[in-house]
Amino acid sequence: MRLFLFAIGGTGSRVLKSLIMLSAAGVKPLDENGRPVSDLEIVPVIIDPHKSNEDLKRTEALLNDYRIIRNRLYGNQLNVDGFFANRIVTLREIMSNTSVTLNDTFIFNLAAVEHDKFREFIGHATMNEANQALTSLLFADYQLENHMNIGFVGSPNIGSVALNEIKDSNEFKAFSNVFKQGDRIFFISSIFGGTGAAGFPIMVKNIRQAANLEGIENRDALSRAPIGGLTVLPYFNLEGSKDDTRIATSDFIVKTQSALYYYKGTLTGANDSNVNTIFYVGDQVRSNPYLYDPGEHGQRNNAHLVELVGAMAPLQFAGMPLSRLSDPDGYPLPTTAYEFALDKDVLNVNFLALGARTRQLIYKPMVRFHLLFLYLRTGFRDMIGQGFTEDAPKIKSDFTASQFYRTLTDQFLHGYTDWLVEMYDNTRSVGLFNIGENDMNRAIADVGTRKGLLGHKNVDNNVFKAEMNRISRDNPKYSAATVEYKLLDLFWQAATKIIDERYENIN
């Protein structure tokens, strides 16, 4: 099954970033029996006209790093267990030879952005007087003057016009070419801004009405496709701007209400089957104020709990039984809505504040990944030439200069640290791990090691080395494997055992 994941606008990119981190940790969608969904490929498509958006750039870089790392670990294998388990591919990667040409990127190429201003995009100068007057009623002057390459600056009415051309794009055609029955579609967007609020309903409309579109394949599969969406409600604050009020925190609720009314009538109403599953997530506790930036300087917002929670929505959607999304004849069922709640309504969120199901899903994988991060940072290099590194295939010192290792440690794990620190510094503060703590015994916030006969059990690099030595000894699994796979798989198995045996059980 392929999960086509449309991440729209800045919030879409940020939620996607959290999903990348969860995927790197090995969090996989589970079916109703708790088993990983088989043959899953995630195809993220970022829709954001604001290409200089820092959040978008950071997410794209992480996606590319993820791809490099995963390809080196598993190649094209789908059903794997370990770090970077979810296969994440571009549209280009899964396209067969067609007449559609596409860049090998996760970013949707929006032709509208090629126009300088929204006024030019709609051909305002060529309109007759009556149409110009109508346009003036629908759009404020500053909206007509809006530069298209900085996004829609909190104006869904611009987005709903500009994004309507998506259906004619090569990306949409390529998407329709590769979409097959059994695949699913998920949208991530915010409802209180411009790009996401407008993009979500337009994309859904175009998919459900695929039968009416020209140059589109698999129309029947598309019009019946299981569609899910994450609608992010207001959760962040902006620093005020005296001179520029195009985006204002005070408008967020009003915009949300308007959009929700619109969605109710077109997407998510009680008898509406355009969107089968909708996840709402937001927070009445607002984030630390972000720098006011309508686009000119590249929006860069800190990671936030809402994005982490939101990233679990597509995973839950992918694991849902088809019977909850389609009727026996294959037609989509009406919308079911989901919300998320913390187990404890606290400002400092750690694993213990999450509900049992969430903990079950992410606790062990995230702890494993964090321990890997600490191990690679503090222990691995000194172990080269000893123990498991000397078993075939040997891990030699030049491994640390390989593209894989540098991508993992210098780039991906650097992004991981930023993500953790940003979530920690935000409000609510997410402190799943004790930031800056290299001692593995104290790495997990408010979760210690178990008590043994002689005090608390110890967890350090040597404990990992011993466990990895034990697993690696005469293990035929690795004889034909790459060193990259061997290292990360050994660590995965060692960490699984060590977490079970040495850390307090909070699940």
Binding site: Q386, G387, E390, D391, K394, A466, N469, R473
Partner: protein
């Protein structure tokens, strides 16, 4: 399979050592040091087999302790192995000398000088047997199988 070959080879070499250390026609102890009265006394009191067994027991025992009892990631470098080898190299002559001395004392004999010189040859046999023992059994150690140098 390869590891089993190493183990069997090690056992065979150790048995060969024992046979050559206890033989009368060809005795490796006497090849390296011979003093008429002293070696006759060793032979007559049947001390060669016991000394060979002490040497084998200490070297194989030390290797077993290093690879399977200690078996620690904190003690898995070549210099840790060398330290154990050095201890064995000292321990074997001391143990053999103590044994010789006890037997000679009970028999009313006095070969202190010869005994000391004779035990110097265990500075050769002890590390040799420790190396043989190490390469026979190290393969199944979880943490030290690559010590003193990788497979």
């Amino acid at each position: 399979m390869k590891h089993l070959v190493y183990l069997i080879t090690g056992i065979v070499l150790t048995v060969v050592f024992f046979v050559l250390a206890t033989g009368s026609a060809f005795n490796i102890y006497e090849r390296l040091y011979y003093s008429q009265g002293f070696n006759d006394a060793l032979y007559n009191h049947n001390m060669y087999p016991t000394m060979a067994l002490i040497t084998i027991a200490i070297t194989w025992g030390a290797a077993a302790i290093y690879y399977y009892a200690i078996n620690s990631v904190k003690f898995d470098r070549w210099y840790h192995w060398l330290a154990v080898c050095a201890i064995v190299t000292l321990l074997v002559p001391i143990a053999c000398y103590t044994y010789n001395d006890a037997v000679f004392a009970s028999a009313g004999l006095g070969y202190i000088g010869e005994s000391i010189v004779f035990q110097l040859q265990n500075l050769l046999w002890a590390p040799l047997l420790f190396v043989i023992a190490s390469f026979s059994m190290r393969w199944w150690s979880s943490n030290c199988r690559h010590t003193p140098f990788p497979q």
